[in-house]
Subunit: 351 residues, 2 copies
Amino acid sequence: MAHKLGIIGYGGMGAWHGDSVAERIEAIDVKGVWDVREEARAKAAAKGLVVYQSAEALLADPELDMVTIATPNDFHRDLAIRSLRAGKATVCEKPVTLNAGELQDIIAVAEETGKLFTVHQNRRWDKDYQIVKQLLSTGALGNPYFIESRVQGSRGAMHGWRGHKLNGGGMLLDWGVHLLDQVLNLIDSPVVSVHAHLFNLFTPEVDDNIKLFLRFENKVSVLLEMATNCFVNLPRWHVSGTGGTAVIEDWACNGRLVKLNQEGELAWDDDIVYTEAGPTRTMAPRPEHTTQVLPLPEVQPDWTDFYKNVVAVLDDGAPLLVTPQQALRVMRVIDLLFESEKQGRSMECLI
Amino acid sequence: MAHKLGIIGYGGMGAWHGDSVAERIEAIDVKGVWDVREEARAKAAAKGLVVYQSAEALLADPELDMVTIATPNDFHRDLAIRSLRAGKATVCEKPVTLNAGELQDIIAVAEETGKLFTVHQNRRWDKDYQIVKQLLSTGALGNPYFIESRVQGSRGAMHGWRGHKLNGGGMLLDWGVHLLDQVLNLIDSPVVSVHAHLFNLFTPEVDDNIKLFLRFENKVSVLLEMATNCFVNLPRWHVSGTGGTAVIEDWACNGRLVKLNQEGELAWDDDIVYTEAGPTRTMAPRPEHTTQVLPLPEVQPDWTDFYKNVVAVLDDGAPLLVTPQQALRVMRVIDLLFESEKQGRSMECLI
């Protein structure tokens, strides 16, 4: 029998969950929603969904065994705890909470109730990330040492409630939580140092253009950038390994892997670049014939694996893919990144 | 009457100084050289230059009033001090010394003798840097907040003596001193935090692939990268300002400045990018018609201004362009960057 899902918060993401689950996840029926806004409730009703009278009413429906929370971030903690106590398997939108402490409160209740709790870190199923994951796991780049991951837009201010501090807005919580979740799952080593440069250029209350500089115990260096005022984008990913460089330009995953050619020809006839101010041998461009350009690996990530995994955990005791402890690790890094900006220095850790 | 220049160290850079001064600086005659290597002396002799028997002999020539030092870096301090004490106006190759303390020793002697001392920070006359300088000084980008400056090659190990610690090799001293000198002269604010991630991937003794993360008191964030194993280069410069983005792709200074169009049209009809794993409004690409693409400003830097300035200081009491104090500021930052890597954290400062 299909699981029955209720959705709390039926804005852009809540509706996306509802539609995507209805269309793509056979084992889950989307039964109904609650949203504080009348227009959101009307939108749900128009789709034939049950519209509950309150969050309480939704959580009190014994037919629902799963709840997805897609409200503004500041409601996640309390709703998740109430949902778990109501006996529901609970999926929470990201960022799971405003800080690690709030998530620990949820985790305590999840352990107490024995109910499933997970976070919709959906960007683990983005194709660009999966390509990088495959490049690293197959050793196609040798040992990675520099990783740059960026999302650059140009809309200026953060949108809607994401512009407000009270709601847990800002770029570090909005996109930072994705890019951090990705790299923390990409590199099998603890984070030992985090450093944030945060700007609130167009959004007075919260950070909107940010750079994060991380180091892992295995020495890998990661630069993350999130921008709302960038008019010439850098690649989505730029990964340097001892054996070559991989670039993913954009969401469409145009890109390439470039390494030395099969003769392993490192040196070439000495040439020197002369600029007005002097020569450089070190930075002279390499002749193309000494390299090979390879296509990026083909990957076909399937986002439905997120909800299918939730079902498999409930039905078959499968291991959970996005665990509360993974989410806690990300939130601990985010707490330190905010502290880094506040103190104007890096924060050392072992996370 | 022309000034007479002697050159100590006649390798790649020493010969470049000799040839360039001879061809382009009328007010300076290149008289002779000293180099410890016979083949370098033979090369100088073949060009009709006087070949001295030793550095002492060169410094003892009363006809020389200027000396350029282009030896490996570990000889700079002692030779500069001896040159100043011998009464010569002294030009030193970069990095001026191995650390700030050595430079302070030189500065003390320069003050004691009253002789001119300057550092060949030639890349202040690179076209790419001058373009960025003009963009920032004219406010074409609004207020800058993110600056990325990179030089990326793929030769692997550092070349020759630059691969040895004893000689003051490594990328931070070799190219770091250029990129730092540039940004320190670009941003009119003290450095308050520096953070280095240094790798010695192909050069056992010294750093060869490095990232530096700097913050200024006015909040400007700077990322510098120097690489010897990069097969897909990122732009030489990527500068984000509140009013637009400028990119300089390469040494040839291909690039552009992109900003909102003249209607200042920030918003556009709502569109959302859907990847496999979900939607994003924040990072949806901006339609081209809402932006304008402008050419980079035309600049014509003239490297000969470096030596012409030295002449003008000597003959007319003009102010020195590359001052020992500027070089000291860079060396203090470099000392902290090495310490940053050693301690695995950022170093706070007010430099």
